[in-house]
Amino acid sequence: MFAALIILPLIGAFVTWLIPYDRLRPKVLSLFAFAHLAITIHMLTFTPPESAGGWFHLDALGKIVLLSTSILFLTCAIYSIGYLFYRRERSNRVICIGLLVCLSAASLVTITHHLGLMWVALETTTISMAPLIYFNRNARSIEATWKYLLICSVGVALALIGLYFLAYATIVAKVEPSLLLDDLIRDAGKLSSGWVHAAFVFLLVGFGTKMGLAPLHTWKPDAYGEAPGLVGALLSGGLVNLAFLALLRVYQLALATKEIAFFQNALIVMGLFSMVIAAIFMARQADFKRMLAYSSVEHVGIMAVALGLGGKAVFGALFHILANGLTKGVLFLSSGNIHRSYNSKSTDHVRGALRRLPWSGGLFLAGFIAITGSPPFAPFISEFTIISSAFIQGRMLIGAIFLISLTIIFIGMALTVLPMVMGEVPADSETTSYRDSIGTVGPPLVLLLMVFVLGIWIPAPLMALLSDAAALLEVHP
């Protein structure tokens, strides 16, 4: 079962590599994505027992991330059929292979309990995404790729040394040396605080870089801005969650080793800082894809703060994994359509999208409303849970900063998004071949529907899953 989840996409990658026709590849891609989702759902319903001596173990946390990733990936794959049709000018072999490899690695991250293996998988996702960012093959995209790759690699390298510290801590503590999460949690008490502290710092910075917490987020706007819409969707809706899952693992460990206070405070500080940075940079943003990148910075910040707050906020964080992922999908895919249609990402040129692209424009608008935490959409549930638990815990200052930056972000985003979608299309704007079609509008529409439904009604099984996951992250006295 576990193997299928990993191998299947790899087979897919191999197949797409063999296929010579550009038109066929995206369909094959979606086929494999669909199979992957099927397996995922099967695994969610009938949880397989942990195998390979605890190396593979699909727990509630993994399930959530796996589910959101798989759904998002399928939608992006289907979207790619319509989207790549407009990018006929260049071969899509690389992008299809990269996507599938990334999918395989992503699944590996979610199902393994061995930190080392998880690290390897994470690194693989980083690398496999690089050529996708370079899809446009121009100076800007190579620069974006370069920054993405170097910064993320440095980050992941730091994470690696963090893991080494952890491992060494086990050796020093004379317990059976291992990087299996369960063993570590078991022996957590014995580990020497010096090494553990150092490990946490390096892991936080490392995974934080991959996740894009400020001030480690510097690669994000460039990468998201230059990558095609669907890659952006996967980066901000998928990879971010994987990195967050890695942080969750560390958090679990931190819970076990009574070092939790420091870790939580660090998370809160970095999270709030990310939100403030996002607020500052979203105002007066002239490039709507970069704006979405900062929105992603904001939301990793939200998740970090929630994790740091603990208690009921953790539930919010976990639900936000899903909510943020899906909503970001809507935003990036629809923004991709708008980009295609106007052939520009500049908010000065894009005007009256609702007139030119009623569907994509409407989706973009709805996505904006959803991502800024307005009901009746899913992000509201998570964000309100977090805010309220901040205030209920009596941590007014945190709540205040959180809320103020949310408001500023809303204003900044509104001032960027509303002029884009409303009004008349400027007479001098470039006309392109792009038209809204079911292929390019359907997938984000489906995502939006999910976001909406989750905003008013959480299915019981999902609810159970979320509360199980939250239980894993509670402080054990």
Partner: protein, 213 residues
């Protein structure tokens, strides 16, 4: 045997300073290559002989010592750049900072508990010092190629620490090391050459069109 390893580590530290101090790119590439070779030898010195070990050693020496330097060298030659002119921070200050960081890392290592058998060897301080050096290069040099060098030094630092764990969890260490190498090759081999094709130069100060106005 292991004392020899210690002396080699001193050599590694020296090479750090060289790569910090020199402005000639080719030279610093070579020095990093040497560092790589030394690191390749180290496991052989501290672990009992095994074919597995031999294989690892060979791979590491091959990649760190020859493949990557070759790639970098070609990139440098194709872009026709000889030296790192006007670094973000001058060479002397960087050297001083390097010294400070090395000292700091010794202090830091001192405060951490060790296994008795590692107690009086300088694996930990050396690795952290190398790590810091890598960071120092990354933050003070403008040229893409020097940043790659910085990244390699960083990796070497991590690798040194990995030696401590090699017998505890060999697969882990090797996986990590090899994957880092992969990244290295990936970054150098493809991106660098793409860059030099796009910009006919490896100056990252050219790679600054993506920013907020």
């Amino acid at each position: 045997m292991i004392t020899l390893a210690d002396q080699l580590l001193v050599l590694v530290l020296l090479i750090n300073f060289i790569s910090l101090g020199t402005s000639r790119l080719i030279f610093s590439i070579r020095s990093v290559a040497v560092q790589g070779v030394i690191l390749g030898i180290l496991p052989g010195l501290i672990h009992p002989f095994s074919w597995h070990l031999v294989a690892i050693t060979i791979v590491i020496i091959a990649v760190k010592g020859f493949v990557i330097p070759q790639l970098l060298g070609r990139a440098v030659r194709s872009a026709e750049i000889k030296r790192e002119v006007e670094p973000f921070l001058g060479f002397v200050p960087t050297l001083l900072l390097g010294a400070v960081f090395t000292a700091l890392s010794f202090g830091f290592a001192g405060r951490l508990p060790m296994l008795p058998e590692h107690q009086n060897y300088m694996f930990v301080p050396a690795s952290i010092a190398t790590l810091m050096t890598g960071f120092l290069i990354l933050t003070t040099r403008r040229k893409a190629i020097s940043q790659v060098i910085g990244y390699l030094v960083l990796e070497n630092g991590i690798f040194i620490f990995g030696l401590l764990l090699a017998e505890a969890m060999p697969i882990m260490v090797e996986a990590g090391a090899l994957l880092d190498l992969l990244v290295g090759i990936f970054v150098m081999g493809i991106v660098i050459n793409q860059i030099s094709r796009e910009f006919s130069s490896l100056d990252t100060s050219l790679l600054t069109s993506l920013k907020e106005e």
